[in-house]
């Protein structure tokens, strides 16, 4: 960090943004941050930390330009990008995100921040009010971790709704609807806690660093809450990974975290809600999805990948999937307990290295599309309340099936029997 900033290193509020070639969105984000800080806080008491991985499209210059008079509050830090970071495009769009986050948190600690808010550089339509909503619970109500609660159309965030949220809730006992969000706030003491952990900035873990931070906050006994932020939009990048790669990264990070925290979650029973600030809003229905194509994708997967699925799924599940593959569209419905057991079996298969992780998680894609088809068939045109109720039933099924996971986790010889 530059000496000038170190000399004035008292900034209760730090807003951090990790960037790598985000010229399309960063100017709007920087303006929203500047406006949010001016409107609700004192710019003098805040710093904007830009962790850039070596952008070649002028991203840092665009930030300075957009901040205008507030550019003096900008602290620019770099983070190293390794060739392997650029090999597979990450689902969140920021290569080396673990190291970027480490740089932001390190700068926040040096600045003595009471609250550090991290924003996703790919977000579009970031309202200035978001910043205050993310910061206030930490400053005013002494929460340590603030997660966003987005308003989403029924088909958006389906991977989070079908797998990440129910599994996170069942394992760790906390109902955080977006445990892998790129936007969050954390207190100074949680920053210290993150920086005190080892090995999360690099390697395969760094792709799923967002779930790591939420999990570390839960397992560390910190106070968590959610804040309603309205609809979420992201820039569609040309280098975004396809669905199967997204599943490999997202679900792989979730399963890897479960392996590391097995001692913790095996003692957790049930789940509890966290305080929600603000009023959750409804998102629109979004563009229509062709459910028939999702069902066909599931049927193709069932026809060709049965042998691969048989490596992790017990025969009873195979029979249930046979029945589902033969069901016609009106009766195409995946039972919640069946889906929970499928995900848990894949988690155990991931742990036991039954197949290479890449193959195992890619093979989950047709099953996920089948679940999505069944979900949209039932809840696609219903309102937000009906969707929320549907997800609640699914999450309870995951909690109900947790003993199934624990018994297979502890006694692997029973796996696939």
């Amino acid at each position: 960090m530059p000496d000038a900033d170190r000399a004035a290193a008292v900034a209760p509020i730090v807003v951090g943004i990790g960037t790598y070639n985000n010229a399309g969105t960063i100017a709007a984000i920087a303006r929203a941050v500047r406006d949010g800080l001016c409107r609700d806080f004192s710019v003098r008491d805040s710093r904007i930390v830009l962790a850039d991985g070596g952008s070649t499209d002028g991203t840092p210059d665009l930030v300075r330009e957009a901040l205008g008079d507030a550019a003096g509050r900008l602290v620019q830090v770099g983070y190293p990008l390794h060739p392997v970071d650029l090999f597979d495009a990450p689902y969140h769009g920021l290569p080396g995100r673990g190291r970027a986050l480490a740089a932001i948190l390190g700068a926040a600690r040096e600045l003595g921040a009471q609250v550090c808010t991290v924003l996703d550089a790919n977000a579009e339509g970031l309202a200035p009010g978001w910043l205050a909503a993310l910061i206030r619970p930490v400053l005013d109500d002494a929460f340590d971790f603030v997660a966003p609660y987005y308003a989403r159309a029924p088909h958006e965030g389906a991977l989070t709704r079908s797998i990440v949220y129910p599994v996170f809730r069942a394992l760790y006992g906390v109902r955080i609807r977006q445990p892998m969000a790129g936007d969050f706030s954390c207190s100074g003491r949680l920053v210290e806690h993150f920086l005190g952990q080892e090995g999360w900035q690099d390697g395969a873990r760094a792709v799923g660093v967002d779930i790591w931070t939420t999990t570390a906050a839960v397992c560390g006994g910190f106070r968590l809450c959610e804040v309603a932020l309205g609809a979420r939009r992201h820039e569609t990048r040309g280098d975004a990974p396809d669905l199967s790669m997204t599943i490999v990264q997202v679900v792989g990070a979730l399963f890897a975290g479960a392996e590391r925290r097995a001692e913790f979650w095996q003692r957790v029973r049930g789940s509890s809600a966290v305080p929600v600030f603000g009023q959750p809003t409804e998102a629109g229905d979004g563009s229509p999805i062709e459910i028939g194509r999702l069902i066909e994708a599931f049927r193709l997967g069932h026809r060709e990948l049965r042998d691969v699925w048989a490596a992790v799924l017990p025969p009873a599940t195979g029979v249930a999937l046979n029945r589902l593959a033969q069901a016609d569209r009106p009766s195409f419905a995946m039972d919640d307990d069946l889906w929970a057991r499928i995900i848990y079996d894949f988690a155990i298969g991931h742990r036991l290295r039954v197949l290479p992780a890449d193959h195992l998680l890619r093979a989950l894609t047709p099953l996920y599309l089948g679940w999505l088809a069944a979900f949209l068939e039932q809840a696609g045109t219903a309102g937000a309340a009906a969707v929320e109720e549907r997800i609640e039933r699914l999450s309870l099924a995951f909690e109900r099936q947790k003993p199934y996971l624990i018994s297979r986790w502890r006694w692997p010889e029973r796996f696939n029997a």
Binding site: A158, P288, L300, G301, E304, V308
Partner: protein, 233 residues
């Protein structure tokens, strides 16, 4: 005259006895080496089998996709196959060592030739095993990727890739042991070239309508709202 015959017979008998006397120690050494090899082979087989069972080698082989190993194994136990293979290898080495101990030109030459051939044989076995593993890995990778791309002929592509790799591995193994080198390389070249040419013709001529429709569908994108355009996370 009878004295001369007697002398000749004595000389011949003496030579025979001398030859037998020269040969016998080699035979004794051969028998001793065989017995030692037999005892060693049995002990190693028992110890190795128990060790592999303790390491759960059978389950690891099943998970690693070493189906070839399982299919060829007695009682479908790769551990037993490996243990017996090592046993017979020790016996074979013992026999060869014993033959080389004989002070006879042909058996010694045979033994040395076989000893020199063993590295090629081992290399061929390793190539076959690795080739089988690689073939199954790539086949599964192609199958899963093709299914996720919603290609209907995913299974055909997967089987094609698997057999291509297996044929390449088999060719390399046979070349390693020096069997039919020229014919093998020629046959492989013709086969591989023929496959590539057939695929090029099929795509270029026979499937141009299907390829055109597939490309058009992929390029159209927004109207179909592909699943990849949704924010799944």
């Amino acid at each position: 005259m009878w004295d001369q015959v007697h002398v000749i017979f004595n000389r011949a008998a003496g030579r025979i006895v001398e030859n037998i006397a020269n040969f016998l120690p080699g035979v004794v050494v051969l028998l001793a080496l065989l017995v030692l090899a037999l005892v060693t082979a049995v002990i190693v087989r028992v110890v190795l089998y128990r060790l592999l069972r303790g390491l759960d080698f059978d389950r690891w082989a099943a998970r690693s996709g070493m189906a070839m190993l399982i299919d060829w194994s007695p009682n479908r136990s790769p551990a037993l196959l490996v243990a017996r293979a090592v046993q017979w290898m020790i016996l074979a080495l013992g026999l060869l060592a014993g033959l080389s101990a004989l002070d006879a030109a042909m058996p010694s030459y045979f033994a040395m030739t076989v000893f020199r051939y063993i590295p090629n044989l081992l290399a061929a076995v390793i190539i076959l095993v690795l080739g089988d593993l690689l073939a199954r890995f790539l086949a599964r990778s192609v199958l899963i990727s093709a299914v996720n791309m919603q290609i209907q002929v995913a299974r055909v592509l997967s089987v094609g890739v698997k057999w291509l790799v297996l044929i390449m591995a088999g060719t390399m193994a046979l070349e390693q042991v020096g069997l039919g080198r020229q014919i093998l390389l020629l046959a492989f070249g013709i086969l591989f070239g023929g496959i590539v040419l057939a695929m090029a013709l099929a795509v270029g001529l026979g499937s141009k309508d299907a390829v055109s429709r597939t490309l058009d569908r992929q390029l159209r994108g927004t109207a179909d709202h592909r699943t990849d355009d949704i924010d799944h996370v």
